[in-house]
Symmetry: C2
């Protein structure tokens, strides 16, 4: 990497903080849902927020694991949630802890390498990691509409 032509926008440590700040906000969004509506409520024929969260659980920690190990596995978008928000929050927290352990194992050079994540999605490692974050923000924003349509105030977007 040549410092004369490559300027750093964000470091790997800062990106982890950024990602975990978003995970923290998504956790509080899950908490804001009533138990029943988390699993049942939707708008416009879309998925429930529980289904979206299962997708996010399938992507973040398994994705970082694949980036570290180089071993591809299929995307799994369902978990045994036992119809329980507490169980989903437990799985969320486990994924958060797993990402913190794995993250320092991603070398600087790795961020610029190409990867075919889950055997399907081509990109660089950095673009894949941003996809994880962006997809989480996207679905959480949809969860905010679900909450508002239930008359519930979502958590403040700027608090992480």
């Amino acid at each position: 990497m040549n410092a004369t032509i490559t300027k750093t926008a964000i470091t790997t440590d800062d990106l982890l903080s950024h990602l975990q700040g978003h995970r923290n906000l998504t956790r509080r969004t899950i908490e804001a849902f009533p138990e029943k509506e988390f699993f049942n409520h939707s708008l416009g024929g879309m998925r429930t927020f529980a289904e979206m969260i299962m997708e996010l659980l399938g992507i973040a920690a398994p994705g970082v694991q694949e980036i570290v190990s180089g071993k591809s596995a299929p995307l799994v978008e369902h978990v045994d949630h036992e119809n329980s928000k507490a169980k989903m929050l437990q799985l969320w927290d486990e994924a958060t802890a797993q990402i913190n352990v794995l993250w320092p194992q991603i070398s600087e050079a790795r961020f610029q390498e190409n990867i075919t994540l889950f055997g399907m999605y081509e990109g660089t490692v950095w673009s894949s990691l941003f996809y994880f974050i962006d997809n989480e923000i996207h679905h959480r924003g949809q969860g905010y509409v679900y909450l508002r349509s239930l008359g519930i105030e979502p958590p403040a977007f700027y608090e992480r």
Copy 2:
């Protein structure tokens, strides 16, 4: 900047591409709305998508301008849109072009500096730029629910 302790996750050039990819997707989301519903439709007592887009227009180009110039100005979340989607798209494109011109004027060191954007929002330059992107993704995700509730298929999230 010490290369032994600071690892680059994403370069400034890549971050500009990333940001502009999102702006491109948001543009196509605006296009997907019928003229009337863009200005009138909402769910859960929330703002219309047009109002959200005006917020985004107030943030991105003026925010990058402030990062470059160091001169603070209040956040303006309203524009003269003439109740016309075409006018909003024109303002969107002008902002996109303005960001492309301004971006190379942000030095590498500037990304780590502190800023109080619009005289109100404290953070680093990098965290402010990510806020612009994240806030756009957040509201665009809400626009997707509006579109689905109108029976309209939103643009593919992964296409930029």
